[in-house]
């Protein structure tokens, strides 16, 4: 595996960013992560990881224009970069390879 090493929570955040597409801002990320992991996740933890991923060049962010609906305020939207998507793909490929090895018959 080449590229950046991803921590478990980093991987989850990155996956969530990818899943939420252009609705990935911190509150929505916190909500979806809390719902899917069934764990209490603080906003600070989400931001810590978002900033780390940003520093690794795996995601980038932009500030959206306010939109005319409830909660349609200005938001910081997070987007996975090419490297970020590649990292997710890499880690997935490794998982699949590892799973194949485990299922192969042992020699000797």
């Amino acid at each position: 595996m080449k590229g950046a090493y991803l921590g478990a929570f980093e991987e989850l955040v990155l996956l969530a960013v990818q899943a939420l597409d252009d609705h990935a801002y911190s509150a929505s990320l916190q909500r979806v992560l809390e719902r899917e992991t069934r764990r209490a996740i603080s906003l600070g933890a989400v931001h810590t990881v978002l900033e780390r991923l940003g520093a690794k060049g795996l995601l980038t962010s932009m500030v959206s224009e306010p939109i005319n609906e409830r909660g349609g305020r200005r938001r910081r939207i997070y987007v996975a970069t090419r490297e970020g998507r590649a990292a997710l793909k890499d880690i997935n490929a490794v998982r699949e390879r590892l799973a194949t090895i485990r299922m192969a018959p042992r020699r000797g």
Partner: protein, 894 residues
């Protein structure tokens, strides 16, 4: 209230956003949004607690580390890692790194210095647009013409014919001239300028900075005098006034209107020219043998040098067929840049090659140093490879180390080179052609970076490949404790052998050049330069008649001789070594008179006008007869003194004293139109070296200045030679005062000790041999350091083995032999290679040698001897150390 709340939220946003309030507000809005969601599910209290917790975690969240491994480019990341590790490795062994960097600095400094000069003189394009298309145009006399001159002035008919017939070349003619300039009644200034045809300005492609250049109408006879000034003259003499154009100045007493000013660095025909005047084209077809103009050309657009030269060759064949005058004689062309560099091309190429050899020696030595040191890093490299570093990565890291060392060395070296460039050029006592092009600029930086990169990679290449190879092939001993010579020792020996061989070659070449220089300085000049001063004087031009000029010099000399401290004084038209006297056709009484087309081969002798007293002032030796005397006046029968070479060549076995010579007057239709008066030879003077000390003396006639039997020579500009104890500036002042009193229009300039001409004449050999000596010294020291390092390393490595041998009864001399044996092999391989290289180099430089043969056995043996002594001295310390190995201690180390 509102304001307090606003301030509180502002503060909270500031804290959450880490100083970025806008970002903090977004974060707080997220908190509020989540609070809204949760309140619906879990009620305000629990939702509020969660919100508070969110805020706390936001505030205390750790900042991301400054440098996280970036996913941007894995290669880039690994390169920066390697660079960092390389820097660590370099820092980890400061002594090795420092000595390597210093050695490289020395090499880079020498290389840059030499290459900058080579670039400026040989490579840089001329300061004219399309400068590579410019040509030098000469006449040549090949031996079948009876004369041998590779570069001779053209005659007008030749110039005009070539200009008319050539389809590929544009031409301009010029004649360099020393001119006396006066403006508005201020003092007379002696200037170097050129008379030139108007075509020169368009040909060189430079427009005037002010006013206009010369026009074609001004090339014609009878045109009024106009002048174009150089930027320097305009600045210094006319205070850069725009009103200078249109003013009238007096040049050689003639009124000339200033019509234009050229931009700076208009170096035509060379960088000394300060003023340009029209050169009148002479269309008389009968002056084909009157060679007096210089020419430059430009290859026309759409043509090439090769085509131009082919066309010229065809034309010359036609000329030779049509006119016997052109048998073995015609026009030749050469690229101007190469022509300006002239015979400096070979010396500069030799210096460039020598300095690259020195750099190579230094590279080999640093390479050897890193390799020897790398042996002790083998464990580190093996561990890193075990941890997954591949060979490429290790090689790359070591390349980085090399580049770091060479960057450090190059930075220091470039700085030193930059500091010493000015003094180096100033140390060259003659004029270096195109000296203005020798400068430090973007080209130099590119050169420095290129040298640095190449050196860095070269330095690291051998150690990197050698050291990682062993691991890669898997023999992978972590520590070599067996005492066997490691694989790299053989490579080290090879490197040292290369160093020795190269340094032998450079040293032999340097020693040959130094000997040439010494021989050159010991060459008897035929006159005594020390204690004499030369002053350049020009008598009034214009109205002055021949009698006035003679009277001026007679009076001037009489009064100069009366000055305190003056021993002897006289005037001569060509001060020896200050400028070549003109060779002139002379007719010898009793020899048949040949037509002009054939007579050139008959007798040519340097024509020198001299006053009484000048031979004494020069310290020349009168061999027979008498010197010129005051009694040889214009009304007496003309007399002359000749030199020994002339006596030997033209009157072999006969006493020339009392014999007569005369000069032809003019030529028409291959017939002499008349002859001057007979000149009787009254004395023979010892040969003087007049052009360069290395040139064999030519036949010379010293005629009486008062008699001047050859009318074209006016004798206005003369060199005063004064043997004096007074110092130069004082003499200049008194000569100038006297000259002004005698003739207000006269110019007195350029006072120089006669010895400075002698020095300038050997300037190039001195410069060359001095630099080569420095290169040789550096190469020897570095090579010998390499030998020392090799032996010291071998001894340190084999301490245990030596201890065992001593314990088993080996005698000390036996140990010394043991250590020396391997070195013997290295030296015996290096010696023949080095001598062979030296032979090649010497053959190449043989034309620069004087009085010493390129295969001078003594020099070769001496260099081999010097090197042997140096090697013995270098290994003395480590061998002594080996002989004193205490077996107990040596074995205890294990």
């Amino acid at each position: 209230m509102t304001s307090v709340r606003f301030r509180l939220t502002h503060l909270a946003a500031w804290v959450c956003g880490r100083g970025d309030v806008a970002h903090g507000q977004d974060l707080l809005a997220d908190v509020v949004e989540l609070y809204g969601d949760r309140r619906a599910d879990r009620g305000p209290l629990r939702a509020g607690a969660r919100a508070a917790w969110d805020v706390i975690t936001l505030v205390i969240r750790p900042a991301p580390p400054r440098s996280l491994p970036s996913a941007r480019s894995p290669l880039m990341r690994s390169l920066t890692d390697e660079a960092r590790q390389a820097w660590r490795a370099v820092r980890h062994r400061p002594l090795v790194s420092l000595s390597a960097a210093l050695m490289l600095a020395l090499g880079v400094a020498l290389t840059l210095l030499t290459l900058t000069v080579v670039d400026g003189v040989l490579i840089r394009p001329l300061p004219f647009p399309g400068g590579h298309r410019l040509l030098a145009v000469y006449d040549e006399f090949r031996p079948e013409s009876g004369l041998t001159f590779s570069r001779f002035a053209l005659s007008w008919p030749e110039y005009l014919d070539y200009e008319r017939q050539s389809q590929t070349v544009d031409l301009a003619a010029f004649a360099p001239a020393g001119l006396n300039l006066s403006a508005d009644g201020t003092g007379v200034e002696r200037l170097i300028g050129a008379r030139t045809t108007s075509s020169a300005f368009a040909l060189l492609g430079i427009a005037p900075a002010l006013g206009r250049v010369l026009t074609a109408a001004e090339d014609q006879p009878g045109a009024s005098c106009v002048a174009v000034l150089s930027h320097e003259l305009w600045r210094d003499r006319f205070d850069s006034a725009a009103g200078a154009v249109g003013r009238t100045i007096r040049v050689n007493g003639q009124a000339c209107e200033i019509v234009g000013v050229m931009p700076p660095r208009f170096e035509y025909p060379d960088e000394r020219a300060r003023i340009w005047l029209p050169l009148t084209i002479d269309r008389d077809p009968n002056i084909r043998g009157n060679h007096g103009i210089a020419a430059i050309g430009r290859v026309r657009d759409g043509s090439s040098y090769a085509a131009a030269d082919a066309e010229r060759a065809t034309l010359m064949t036609q000329w030779a067929g049509a006119d016997p005058h052109h048998k073995g004689h015609g026009i030749v062309i050469a690229p101007l840049a190469a022509d300006l560099a002239g015979d400096l091309r070979l010396p500069l190429r030799v210096l460039g090659t020598a300095v690259l050899l020195v750099l190579l020696i230094i590279v080999a030595n640093v390479s050897h140093l890193l390799l020897a040191h790398g042996e002790s890093r083998r464990r580190e490299l093996a561990v890193r490879q075990a941890l997954g570093a591949n060979r490429l990565r290790l090689v790359r890291q070591m390349m980085f180390e090399g580049l770091l060392l060479s960057a450090g060395g190059a930075a220091l070296g470039a700085f030193v080179a930059w500091l010493s460039l000015g003094p180096l050029i100033a140390a060259y006592p003659g004029t270096l052609p195109r000296a203005a092009s020798i400068m430090v600029d973007g080209r130099s930086i590119v050169m420095a970076v290129a040298v640095c990169a190449v050196v860095g990679l070269l330095v690291a290449a051998v150690p990197a490949l050698r050291l990682t190879k062993k691991i890669a092939t898997g023999t992978g001993e972590l520590a070599d404790r067996s005492g066997h010579a490691g694989l790299s020792v053989r490579t080290q020996r090879t490197l040292v052998a290369v160093e020795l061989a190269l340094s032998i070659s450079v040293t032999v070449a340097a020693l040959l050049l130094v000997q040439s220089f010494v021989r050159l300085q010991q060459t008897p000049l035929g006159f005594e330069p020390s204690g004499a001063i030369a002053v350049s004087v020009t008598a009034a031009s214009g109205a002055g008649t021949a009698g006035q000029v003679t009277a001026f010099y007679t009076d001037l000399l009489a009064r100069v001789r009366a000055e305190p401290g003056v021993g002897a004084a006289g005037a001569i038209s060509s001060v020896p070594l200050a400028g070549a006297p003109p060779p002139d056709l002379v007719m010898i009484d009793g020899h048949p008179i040949l037509p002009p087309s054939q007579s050139a081969a008959a007798a040519t002798a340097d024509y020198v006008m001299a006053t009484p007293g000048v031979l004494e002032a020069l310290g020349a030796r009168v061999v027979r007869g008498r010197a010129l005397a005051l009694s040889d006046t214009a009304v007496d029968a003309p007399v002359a003194v000749i030199n020994e070479t002339m006596a030997r060549l033209f009157w072999a076995g006969v006493d020339p004293i009392g014999r007569r010579v005369r000069y032809p007057d003019g030529v028409r239709d291959d017939q002499w139109t008349g002859f001057g008066p007979w000149v009787t030879i009254v004395g023979i003077v010892g040969d003087m070296r007049t052009i360069r000390p290395s040139d064999l003396p030519r036949p010379a006639i010293y005629v009486s200045h008062a008699q001047r039997p050859r009318p074209p020579y006016t004798g206005r500009a003369m060199g005063l030679v004064v043997r004096t104890s007074a110092d130069a500036p004082n003499l200049l002042t008194s000569v100038r005062t006297i000259a002004r009193e005698l003739d207000p229009q006269s110019a007195v300039t350029l006072v120089r000790p006669l010895s400075s001409f002698a020095d300038a004449a050997v300037a190039r050999p001195r410069f060359m041999s001095g630099l080569m000596a420095v290169f040789a010294g550096v190469s020897l020291v570095v090579a010998v350091l390499g030998v020392y390092g090799l032996v010291a390393y071998a001894v340190a490595r084999r301490t245990r083995e030596i201890g065992v041998r001593i314990a088993l009864g080996a005698t000390r001399p036996r140990i010394a032999r043991l250590v020396g044996a391997q070195l013997g092999l290295t030296v015996s391989a290096a010696l023949p290679a080095g001598l062979a290289g030296a032979a090649g180099l010497s053959t190449w430089i043989s034309s620069l040698l004087f009085g010493v043969a390129p295969f001078d056995a003594v020099t070769y043996v001496a260099v081999a001897g010097i090197l042997a002594l140096a090697v013995v001295a270098a290994i003395a310390v480590p061998v002594r150390r080996a002989m004193r190995v205490d077996p107990i201690i040596a074995l205890r180390v294990e």
